[in-house]
Symmetry: C2
Subunit: 453 residues, 2 copies
């Protein structure tokens, strides 16, 4: 019996139109990365589970897709194994890539002797997560990461902002970057009297836009902060003004914190670079930005589209010692990641995809039968030699059907050569959009099409 075809939940097929649009996004991002001197790498879809496990927290470990060992995987299992949590590790040694960061850290450590540092790399590949599928969240999705590793200079942070600006400018998306610095958050935790509660604190203040001041205060109280502690953090939650004013307020709040002031120094220096190099994107200081990720140690970035309501379309920050887990300590890195699916949704929602994105052929020759095909074949070949995108309809079918095929594919001209045209040495060329039709000598066809190309 024939199978009813389907694909695993949370995964997607990409149609030709979707592919054109996705390639447009990836090609734009890639061209900017290359322009700034970043080099592309790729890593395998599968990594050893020993590389992946323990890097994403307990929750992340559960979301790894594990691959069954080939051969007789189950002979190693005893019946007791079926009741514990160890069975999967006895039958699986490999898992699918969960992000691009851990494979990159593994790559840098493994190939450190071939790499000249600072290493500016980008990577555009799918990742897989056994998340519960829901609207806008997939089990297979593409990440676009760009990182510099082996340099602590804030010029790298600047470069990432410049690239984000250029990518979104090229795509026609108005965007703004929020920036913060993890050291400032550490300073805040310090002056609140709870340096150990930095995670609880940042999780709470990260929610200020969503749940408001009162609820953030409540959450902080529930995590063991008292009224005095909260009052020291509160200026961050209520401040307004431009970047300079915000920094001035924080200088005051953090005056007693050395790490906090280091964070403010870094932020000010980065902003001075920004005013000198002028990225094509607004840069706003936001001390409530935390991005939940524990491994950031310096700058934190997040980009949002200004004209479309959706989560962040790009984000990242500086991390120290990521490669340290693979035996290479003290290497600082900074990077950002572009969210291709969300960028796609923004471009769709704002109708900003260029109209000619499908790169359809310029002309299709109709198939009027064997004799006509012999007349047309050398013409088609010579047009292609000149670089024109040409189709020849493969079957002798009703002209209406051929016309519809060309029209659906976004082909601009339909060229028809029947008996009359052959005897005249011409082709009848119909503009599919305007309906206009004219006879053109075969040897003038190329210049006609080049002009219209």
């Amino acid at each position: 019996m024939a199978q009813k075809p389907s694909i695993p939940k949370g995964t997607r097929d990409f149609s030709p139109m979707e592919m054109s649009r996705r390639n447009y996004i990836f090609d734009t991002i890639r061209s900017v990365f290359l322009k700034y001197g970043y080099s592309q790498i790729e890593t395998p879809a599968m990594e050893n589970l020993s590389t992946l496990l323990g890097k994403y927290g307990d929750e992340g470990d559960k979301l790894l897709f594990k691959i069954l060992n080939s051969g007789d995987a189950f002979s190693k299992l005893s019946p007791e194994d079926l009741h514990g949590n160890s069975a999967s590790l006895k039958v699986c040694e490999k898992g699918l890539r969960y992000d691009l960061t851990v494979p990159f850290a593994r790559y840098v450590s493994q190939h450190q002797n071939e790499i000249s540092f600072p290493f500016k790399r980008f990577q555009i590949q799918p990742v897989w997560r056994a998340d519960r599928p829901q609207k806008g969240r997939y089990r297979e999705f593409c990440q676009c990461d760009v990182d510099v590793i082996g340099s602590g200079s804030l010029l790298n942070e600047l470069e990432l902002l410049l690239m984000a600006g250029e990518v979104f400018e090229k795509l026609g998306i108005r965007a703004a970057v929020k920036i913060n610095n993890r050291k400032i958050l550490s300073g805040l935790a310090e002056i609140s009297g709870h340096p150990d509660k930095i995670t609880d604190m940042t999780v709470a203040i990260d929610k200020i836009d969503k749940i408001g001041l009162a609820a953030v205060r409540e959450e902080l109280f529930s995590k063991g902060f008292d009224e005095v502690s909260v009052s020291r953090i509160e200026p961050v939650l209520t401040m307004s003004g431009d970047n300079e004013e915000k920094i001035a307020i924080l200088r005051n709040v953090l005056s007693a914190s050395q790490i906090g002031n280091t964070g403010l120094d870094e932020l000010e220096k980065l902003l001075s670079y920004v005013s000198s190099a002028k990225p094509a994107v607004r840069v706003d200081v936001d001390f409530s930005l935390a991005r939940g990720l524990n491994y950031y140690t310096g700058a934190i970035f997040e980009v949002k589209a200004l004209d479309f309501e959706i989560g962040s379309i790009c984000g990242g920050g500086r991390y120290d010692d990521l490669a340290g887990i693979f035996g290479m300590s003290g290497v600082s890195g900074v990077g950002i990641s572009f969210g291709a699916d969300r960028i796609y949704d923004v471009l769709s929602g704002l109708d900003k995809f260029p109209p000619d994105i499908a790169a359809s052929p310029l002309v299709m020759f109709a198939n009027m039968g064997d004799n006509e095909v012999s007349y047309v074949l050398p013409v088609v070949s010579s047009l292609r030699k000149s670089g024109i995108k040409v189709e020849l309809y493969p079957d002798k079918a009703k002209l209406k059907k051929q016309f519809e095929y060309a029209s659906k594919k976004g082909i601009r001209y339909l060229a028809i050569a029947g008996e009359n045209e052959i005897s005249e040495g011409t082709a009848s060329v119909k503009d599919i959009i305007s309906g206009e039709q004219k006879n053109i000598k075969i040897d003038e066809l190329l210049s006609f099409l080049i002009e219209k190309n």
Copy 2:
């Protein structure tokens, strides 16, 4: 303890240089596909095992990478399951894509109402096979497939030959295509008196180049062909001459076989198209070509490089009813697949990769310290605005180190602005290849670099 990093056997990391070379191959192939009006699709890395199992023979089923169900996969297993072959199917519902053909058939069937036929698609994605890794054989490798589905016209076969010719011409690889037709092989089996033994017969004659006539005869005898049968097949094994002469001999051999003559008719028609459209590749009839694959029903193709000893670099053929397994019968298709890894090896072996493939930045500004960076930043930004690929070294390091970094990355010019240059409003620009160095006014830098670009 730090882990010693490694990747699963049979998989690969791709370094920046390898990526530049691979992208060059893929971009070349993709540009040709697009020029002929083929549209790109992508399918998920994971398919349901029900889609994959039974499509590649028993051996193929064993080579599928299966993905462990998420959640508590093992609670469904009883101790008895551990002894049979069924355990993996109880804990795995998904597998990794084994080729692009079955996912394409699934795609066509699943999306038939959105597709306008004939559907000309290409797909460039990795596939995974649990093969024993060995030199040149990987467990993860990229396939580049191009197919037309929904048209029986031989113009499609022609188009594939034209595209293969154009791809290898663009890559600078001299190549030749062997063509055959499965119907001719069916005719041969028929006149040998063993139409049911077509597979044994084609497997044997496919080996003629490798093992020679005597051994092929032996193999045929061992499969139950007698002397009379073998004598009828033998002209195919010993023939020489050009395409026309070969076809004439086969017309004679196959005179009693209707299907054999249909195959020869198809071959002749395709060759007449070839002489009219002139692909950029030699086309040789080879009646021993079988390509082992059971699903070909018409034309069979194989491309080999002429100047480098390696297996086929491209191949394919016509298949009928592939989508039939997914409930869509009677749809004929034809396609070819490019072997990216082998093409890479040919280009490496012949030293045919273009020298400027890495697309390195044209210029790098040295980092001479904070003051100098302020002078240089607006210059770097304005050069980038003009489309020049520019790096600014992020750290204040010894000039020698910065020079070496630029040199290793294939950057052509190193621009240095120290105190003197700043006071003069210039930069000192060193040609890294020639060693030549000169002072250039900042506002003349752009025109200097554009000229050198």
